[in-house]
Amino acid sequence: MAIIETAALTKVFPGPDRREINALGPVDLTVEAGEFICIVGPSGCGKSTLLRILAGLEQPTQGTMTAEATDLQRPFNSMVFQGDSTFPWLTVHANVEYGLRVRGVPYRERDEIAARMLRTVGLSGYAEAYPYQLSGGMRQRVALARALANDPEVLLMDEPFGALDAQNRALLQDELLYIWDQTGDSAGGGARKTILFVTHSIDEALVLGDRVLVMTAAPGRIKAEIRAPFARPRRTHELKRDPVFGELSYQIWEALRDEVDAARASELRGQR
């Protein structure tokens, strides 16, 4: 069953000198419930814009989006924003429980959830620290913990691991897959989360996703769709020895290269 569907979604921003910036689209996208979708594309092609529209933070200029929430008890989506998205005036613990607090979850329950999520991202020791006392990668993990604490149906993740070192990145990829698999179990509490995951790393996209969408240079459209046919649960580092992995990685890079060149060229034009 499709949980999100978009039809000819486009976004045009007003630019300088009354020009218009075609940021996105048209995008036709169908996301099945419980799917893990990774999105790659050149910088500035509209990936963040797409996620923001799906999150309801931005209105599309044209086209439609339909979202089918199944569980009204849970929030429909939570976003892990690109870049630092912690609230500097809240402690790490308070940041993580923020969504639960504004939704009125009782203190005891949300305290427990936040502590658990902080353990998941390896920041238990920093519960009472303020964001200025953390590194960029640690703050990114706080944002991740906050999104997970909300327990949404759809996770929108905009380069969530971009600021992380290689080791933490690998650890958190495994952790994310684990959480995602778990929520799929009947024991883990019903329906599996749907994840849309933007990344610049082709390997990361293949390791995590069921499908990898390659976007064109701005205004971003979906240029290609590659299925990652690996069995789950996946062991991320073993996957990379699979010859199929190398082949798919090559295919994605082929699709992406022209677009990166095109984006470069248009950026240079823009500079002149």
Partner: protein, 562 residues
């Protein structure tokens, strides 16, 4: 950081040269009285109460005008920042009136409100209002959009956006506005008092000018300067308290102790060793007791200073001696979490710590004996009692701390005894009212100890140390915590209801959110690390509660004088 001392060179040199020039006759003392003469006049004016009265009048006008204006100003500023419509409608008026020199409004205000107190308060209020509105609005407008996006994505409704994003994010700006407004209000009120000289520092200066009393003019100016400086210091502290999340730019990187010049190393080493952060437990009751006496009409700076330094010395001595014995017993090895860093890091030898403790005890006892000699034997009895209680606290076969009496002993001695003692030093008598007012503080001190015992329930049980906490068990000891905290707030309210304390002490209710937070944490957690936070938080609560009560009594005095 050496520069701190260098900072003093220019003002000191300035004063010395001035003094010399007057002494040599190069400056006419009729126009430029020597600094020593000004100082003598300052003390004289303090003694006969003229200066104090003038200061209180000025401060009262400032305080009333400030509160009247700042509260609506913050509300309107928030509204204008958050709502475009409000900005469009109110903006032009505010920006047009903001730059008008407020002192130039005095004639209009007098025409409208007469020359009484009202017009002076109004001038302050007008000065404060615009500054705070503008800074608050700018604060909200400068909040980055992405914070609102994040909040909304997490389910925040418009009201949440205001309370969890707009207000906390613009608080630094609001405080800057308030800080500027305080300085500005001081300037404007003194100026107004010069124009309408009816009491206050400005009037004092103006009247002295009329009779050519130049030293008094300087004395008045010094007080104005000191007030301005005090506001800055207080606001700095308020900012540190309210904005713990700001990058600590105010605290420069500390040099390692070993690299400091000798004198500074000496001072900092002992500063570390006496654990000054624990002092509030003894400072708060002394200040409260003394201020209560002042409220009842007896005050001497000298006695206050002696009481304060004396009790802090005893406290410091106790800390040092305790550390020495802990070290002797071997509980404070380098691996353990013992509090004394100076000893642990080998900066001080155990012998030095011991003799340091003896020194502070001697100093404290000396000052105490002076009080006994001049203020009466009651001090001696209280002193002996306290020393005995301190001794039997952990020593002897039936040490209080080991038979579940810790809270009661601490309650009595760090609450009523200290507060009533300090009161007695000033007043030469005590009464039941002082005892009643001391109850909340005593309960909160006991609560700090109890928080400690809650953390150590398991350890103490293993060591056969019976505390109320492990006698009661985990669950009931939580109730004891609630009762102690709730009891202090309840007592406070009752004190006011029965007219024992002035209503202003209800200021201490401002700490209620913190107390609620602590009780919630204590309700949920058993882990020592979490309870450590409860201990520190309770100590913090005691401190803030105490100072707000003190502030309340001072406010009641200010309200009384005029």
């Amino acid at each position: 950081m050496k520069n701190r001392a260098l900072n003093l060179i220019s003002p000191v040199a300035f004063l010395v040269i001035w003094e010399l020039l007057v002494a040599l006759g190069a400056l006419d003392r009729r126009f430029f009285p020597a600094p020593s003469e000004t100082l003598a006049r300052l003390l004289e004016l303090l003694q006969n109460g003229e200066l104090t009265t003038a200061t209180v009048i000025t401060l009262r006008r400032m305080a009333v005008g400030f509160v009247l204006a700042a509260v609506p100003a913050v509300v309107i500023g928030l509204l204008m920042g958050a709502n475009r419509m409000a900005r469009i409608i109110l903006g032009p008026l505010i920006t047009a009136l903001y730059p008008v020199p407020k002192i130039a409004l005095v004639p209009m205000v007098v025409i409208l409100l007469g020359i009484g107190e009202t017009s002076k308060v109004a001038i302050v209020a007008i000065s404060v209002f615009f500054l705070v509105v503008i800074h608050t609005m700018a604060g909200v407008l400068n909040v980055e959009q992405r914070y609102f996006d994040i909040a909304r994505n997490n389910g925040a409704r418009p009201w949440d956006l205001l309370t969890t994003v707009a207000i906390p994010a613009s608080l630094p700006n609001i405080l800057t506005g308030i800080n500027l407004a305080l300085g500005f209000a001081l300037t404007v009120i003194v100026g107004t008092e010069l124009l309408l000289p009816q009491g206050g520092l400005g009037a004092l200066i103006w009247k002295s000018y009329n009779v050519y009393d130049i030293p008094t003019i300087f004395a008045g100016l010094i007080v104005v300067a000191l007030l301005g400086w005090a506001f800055t210091v207080i606001m700095g502290e308020v900012e540190r308290q309210l904005l713990p999340w700001r990058v600590a730019d105010a605290a420069p990187a500390r040099r390692r102790l070993q690299d400091e010049p000798r004198l500074r190393r000496f001072v900092r080493t002992w500063w570390l060793a006496v654990r000054p952060f624990s002092f509030t437990a003894s400072v708060t009751p002394v200040v409260l007791g003394s201020v209560l006496a002042a409220y009842d009409g007896a005050w001497s700076w000298l006695l206050f200073a002696i009481t304060l330094v004396g009790s802090v010395s005893i406290h410091a001595g106790t800390n040092l001696i305790n550390d020495f014995y802990d070290w002797k017993k071997g509980t404070d090895t380098p691996e353990s979490l013992g509090p004394n860093r100076a000893l642990k890091e080998g900066i001080l030898t155990p012998q030095q710590v011991f003799w340091g403790g003896v020194f502070f005890f001697a100093l404290g006892s000396g000052l105490g004996l002076y009080l006994v000699a001049t203020r009466g034997l009651l001090i001696l009895y209280l002193g002996i009692f306290s020393v005995l209680a301190g001794w039997f606290y952990t020593a002897g076969p039936a040490a209080f701390a080991y038979i579940g009496m810790g809270e009661i002993v601490v309650f009595i001695f760090m609450g009523p005894v200290m507060i009533m003692g300090s009161y007695f030093v000033q007043m030469q008598s005590v009464n039941w009212n002082v005892f009643l007012v001391s109850i909340p503080i005593g309960l909160l001190v006991a609560c700090i100890l109890h928080a400690n015992n809650m953390r150590d329930i398991e350890d103490d049980r293993a060591n056969n140390k019976r505390t109320l906490a492990n006698l009661l068990g985990r669950k009931a000891s939580r109730w004891e915590y609630y009762v102690l905290i709730g009891g202090s707030y309840l007592t406070l309210v009752l004190l006011v209801l029965f007219g024992v304390a002035p209503p202003f002490v209800l200021l201490a209710l401002l700490t209620l959110p913190k107390a609620a937070g602590l009780m919630r944490t204590a309700a949920v957690h058993e882990a020592p690390a979490r309870l450590n936070k409860v201990i520190r938080g309770t100590a913090d609560l005691h401190e803030r509660f105490g100072w707000l009560m003190i502030a309340g009594i001072l406010a009641a005095m200010v309200a009384q004088v005029v």
